[in-house]
């Protein structure tokens, strides 16, 4: 009786502590039994963490895990699908706590410098495997091709230049196109397929806008837009119109117009907003966004998706990442079509002389996975990643997900044919971002122009005035810490130099001829790397800065100035003399 009383007193006194202890025990038991259920005793468990909550991604990875298990029955692959919003924190705690999954999706949801430090500390470099064939490609036409050559982009996105190492394996490519409601388009315009010609596209938008939606009593919305979607339209359709600016402003003739070159071109009168590529860019922007719903700049991605899903809008841009889920949402309600961005015809009276073709799309791969250093089964984790990156595996994975395969020789899902990247074309060639207040002013005035609150003339006058008065100051401020970059390079180079000196010492110390030869080769390679990086990064800092300052402070161009892509009289004379000699009897 006394004992019971004592026990009751004890429970009363330490009730909170006991509850915490009990909950801890219960959690530990649940986790232990859950994991035991997932992984039978004796099996090798590979955990894979990612932020893709789309059902098709989880389904795709599960299916590939089942396929892999047929080859390796003792391997169990378990996914940890973490929401985008918390992935960064989750990755950080898992890596720092030493409990990270074997395989983790990398490269986003955290700033680049954080990923760099994580790669350094917590991930296994994969460089030694990229120059050997992928064993899972046996029996295919790329059986003997080194792994990195089997990727459409040469595995560029997997390479971390700061570390000089390949740190991940990318599995998919992405692109942006226009999705449209085929049934609604047919109903409102009579067309089966959306037009790819710019003028015809505008006419279709006009026609859609003229029909009243019986449900809402409002006109139908031709294009579902938002601040998020505007980026797609601008990047894929409007900005590329500025391509031709290089002819006047690419002073160093590298093919691109930088922020310093844009500023000098404006200051010296080589460019202004009346220059056709710039005027047409802004004109097209206004023409197309005129068919977005009112107030689109204040809306987010989801609002636009609702309009499209509720059949109140006909067109909407989105990427491969949404293709499958949009199709699923529309199932049973309407048919989804995918089209490329419309472009003006070569004989278009306004744009014909300016828009030279379709946009160039970089064939870079994403959906990248690295292997954590704490993985107890590195070889198995790597083999599973290679399985996913094999020609057959990558094609199947991406077919299930609805994305574009990253490996050469793979077939694209018919739904995604329109996403095939354009590997030849034009690109945006203007950059007004000088930082500071110039960038803020650009943002303000550009936003007002987007929503039709100021005219083109007002936009051009107001921004040009501010830009010319304040641009130089902001540029100089932006460039003030240019030496910091050189210091970062110096830190990095010292590490490479240390490695090379050690490699020299190892070569000198080696006694066995074969080992000595290998060590000498390693040392030579380390020094080549050191010299290559010193040459490309560190020698030019001072010189590039001086040349950039020389350019940006110019108020006038020389009297005999010739635009970068025009021939000087001397060159023309030389060519004429050569041809004259050729045609002379």
């Amino acid at each position: 009786m006394r004992l019971i009383q004592k026990l009751l007193d004890f429970v009363r006194t330490y009730f909170a502590l006991l509850v915490v202890f009990a909950v801890f025990l219960w959690s530990a038991w649940v986790i232990a039994t859950y994991r035991a259920q997932q992984a039978p005793p004796g099996s090798i468990v590979i955990r894979l963490g990612h932020w893709q909550l789309e059902a098709s991604v989880r389904e795709g990875l599960d299916e590939m895990a089942r396929d892999y298990q047929k080859l390796h029955p003792n391997v169990v692959i378990i996914q940890d699908a973490i929401p985008e919003g918390t992935y960064g924190q989750w990755v950080s705690t898992q890596l720092m706590g030493g409990t990270a999954p074997d395989i983790m999706q990398v490269g986003a949801m955290l700033p680049d410098n954080i990923w760099l430090s994580y790669y350094n500390r917590y991930f296994q470099p994969l460089s030694r495997y990229v120059n050997t064939p992928n064993p899972h490609n046996a029996g295919t036409d790329i059986a003997d091709v080194p792994l990195r050559r089997t990727f459409k982009d040469g595995m560029k996105t997997a390479y971390v230049a700061e570390m000089q190492e390949y740190m991940s394996v990318p599995l998919s490519q992405f692109g942006v196109r226009i999705f449209y409601n085929k049934d609604l388009l047919k109903k409102l315009t009579g067309l089966d397929v959306a037009p790819l010609d710019y003028r015809e596209f505008l006419a279709v938008c006009q026609k859609i806008q003229s029909v009243t939606n019986p449900t809402s009593g409002q006109p139908y919305i031709p294009i579902a837009g938002s601040a998020y979607h505007f980026g797609h339209w601008d990047g894929m359709m409007f900005s590329p119109v500025t391509y031709g600016c290089f002819r006047r402003a690419d002073f160093n003739r590298d093919g691109f117009v930088g922020n310093d070159e844009t500023f000098v071109a404006f200051k010296t009168g080589q460019l202004d907003f009346l220059y056709p590529p710039l005027a047409c860019w802004l004109k097209m922007l206004r023409e197309v966004t005129g068919y977005f719903q009112t107030g689109y700049t204040g809306l987010g991605r989801d609002e636009a998706v609702f309009l499209f899903a509720q059949q109140r809008a006909v067109f909407m841009t989105t990427g491969t990442w949404d293709a499958r889920s949009l199709q699923e949402q529309a199932k049973g309600q309407f048919e989804v079509g995918i089209m490329d961005f419309p472009i003006p015809a070569r004989d278009d009276p306004v744009y014909g002389g300016v828009v030279e073709g379709r946009i160039y799309e970089t064939p870079g791969a994403g959906f990248r996975f690295g292997i954590s250093r704490t993985s107890k089964n590195f070889d198995v984790a790597l083999d599973f990643l290679l399985f996913l990156a094999s020609q057959r595996g990558n094609e199947k994975l991406n077919r299930i997900i609805g994305w574009i395969p990253a490996i050469v020789g793979t077939e694209l899902d018919p739904l995604l044919q329109a996403f095939e990247p354009h590997l030849e074309g034009i690109y945006g060639n203007i950059n007004f971002n000088l930082g500071g207040n110039t960038a803020v002013t650009w943002g303000q005035i550009y936003s007002l122009y987007q929503v039709n609150q100021i005219s083109f003339e007002d936009f051009a006058t107001r921004f040009t005035e501010y830009y010319l008065q304040n641009g130089l100051k902001d540029f100089l401020e932006q460039q003030r810490d240019w030496r910091r970059g050189m210091q970062r390079n110096e830190q990095y180079l010292a590490g490479i130099r240390g490695r090379a000196i050690l490699a020299d010492e190892a070569a000198a110390a080696a006694t066995d001829p074969a080992a000595k030869a290998a060590a000498e080769l390693d040392a030579a390679s380390a020094w080549v790397r050191y010299r290559a990086i010193t040459s490309s990064r560190q020698i030019w800092g001072e010189l590039n800065h001086a040349r950039q300052l020389d350019l940006i402070t110019r108020d006038h161009l020389p009297a005999d100035y010739v635009a970068p892509y025009e021939y000087s009289p001397a060159v023309l004379t030389k060519i004429r003399e050569r041809i004259r000699a050729e045609v002379a009897p």
Binding site: F10, T13, Y14, N120, R121, S127, N131, R148, M155, K156, Y159, A161, Q164, R253, D254, G255, E356, Y360, P363, L423, E424, I426, Y427, R480, R483, R484, M486, Q487, E490, Q491, G495, I496, R497, G498, R499, I501, L502, E505, R531, A532, T534, S535, I539, E542, L543, A546, D550, Y565, E566, Y567, S568, A570, V571, K574, I575, R576, I579, R580, E582, V583
Partner: protein, 296 residues
């Protein structure tokens, strides 16, 4: 019972605090021979684990015989860590350690690299300050004079000429051209490519397009490539050579050669459209001039 639990709790708390306190104490790297410690320390440096690198270099330095090559290497690593780590750098301590190497291990193979590090300290001053260029020049010149043929001396030479060319003045550029021309005559290929590249810049300043094209071609021929780096590609080099040949020298055959090289080797490059435009542009100009000449 309650008393017992209290005592147990206090003991656990004290144990946890003691364990935490010991973890916060000064760490020491122990174990391993000097060579292994130095190798481990450099690995930690490359992984940006600067505190561990510092402790391991210190352990290696303490284990090595003062003045020996291993001691010099450990001290150099320690000095480099204090010099270049961010945050937590201590450049004054780094300078002191570099000086110790010069004093105590004058025959060490690390001497040229130590001298280069001291020169770089003078050159890479903190943001907002301007280097004392006379002192920088003197430091680089000292390395070139004291260690002719050493890689550190060649690197010092390139930094020095880069400073001279950055003045963008005719007189200093002409003087740099003389020295660079002498440098590229050497049999060694070490840093010869970038020296040609600096010559190309010099010829740009001097408005000598033929000289620039020649220097760019030589630089391209002598480029050293890290075979593992997928970003090392020659698309930019082909474009650069082609546009110089087309617009500055008027050598259309050479321009076509390089534009075509880019198209063949890098069919997915962003400049492919520009290359095709350039080839068409040259054809059109030649056809126009030919028609004019034939009609004369």
């Amino acid at each position: 019972m309650a008393d017992l639990i209290k005592r147990l709790g206090v003991a656990l708390l004290a144990g946890a605090l003691a364990a935490g306190g010991s973890a916060c104490g000064k760490k020491n790297a122990t174990g391993g021979d000097v060579a292994t410690l130095i190798s481990e320390a450099w690995t930690k440096y490359r992984l940006s684990e600067f505190q561990d690198a510092q402790l391991t270099f210190e352990a290696a330095r303490a284990s090595a015989q003062p003045g020996s090559d291993a001691w010099a290497m450990a001290t150099y690593g320690l000095a480099t860590t204090w010099d270049l780590r961010r945050p937590g750098e201590d450049p004054k301590l780094a300078t002191k350690l570099y000086q110790e190497i010069l004093t105590n291990a004058p025959a060490s193979p690390m001497i040229p690299w130590t001298e280069l590090a001291l020169a770089r300290q003078k050159h890479l001053v903190p943001v907002g300050q301007e280097p004392d260029y006379a002192a920088v020049h003197k430091a680089y010149q000292h390395i070139m004079d004291a260690f002719p043929g050493h890689l550190a001396a060649k690197e010092a030479f390139l930094y020095q000429e880069s400073i001279e060319l950055a003045k963008l003045e005719e007189a200093s550029t002409r003087a740099a051209v003389k020295r660079l021309n002498q440098f590229v005559q050497s049999d060694s290929t070490e840093f010869t490519g970038p020296a040609w590249s600096l010559l190309a810049v010099a010829h740009t300043t001097l408005k000598n397009p033929a000289g620039r094209l020649h220097a760019e071609q030589k630089s391209f021929e002598l480029t050293e490539v890290d075979p593992a780096d997928p970003f090392v590609e020659f698309a930019w080099a082909y474009w650069n050579l082609a546009t110089i040949a087309e617009f500055e020298v008027g050598d259309f055959d050479l321009a076509r050669h390089y534009y075509n090289k880019l198209l063949e080797a890098y069919p997915n490059d962003i400049r492919v459209y520009g290359c095709k435009q350039a080839l068409a542009r040259m054809d059109a100009l030649e056809a126009q001039i030919r028609a004019e000449e034939e009609g004369r």
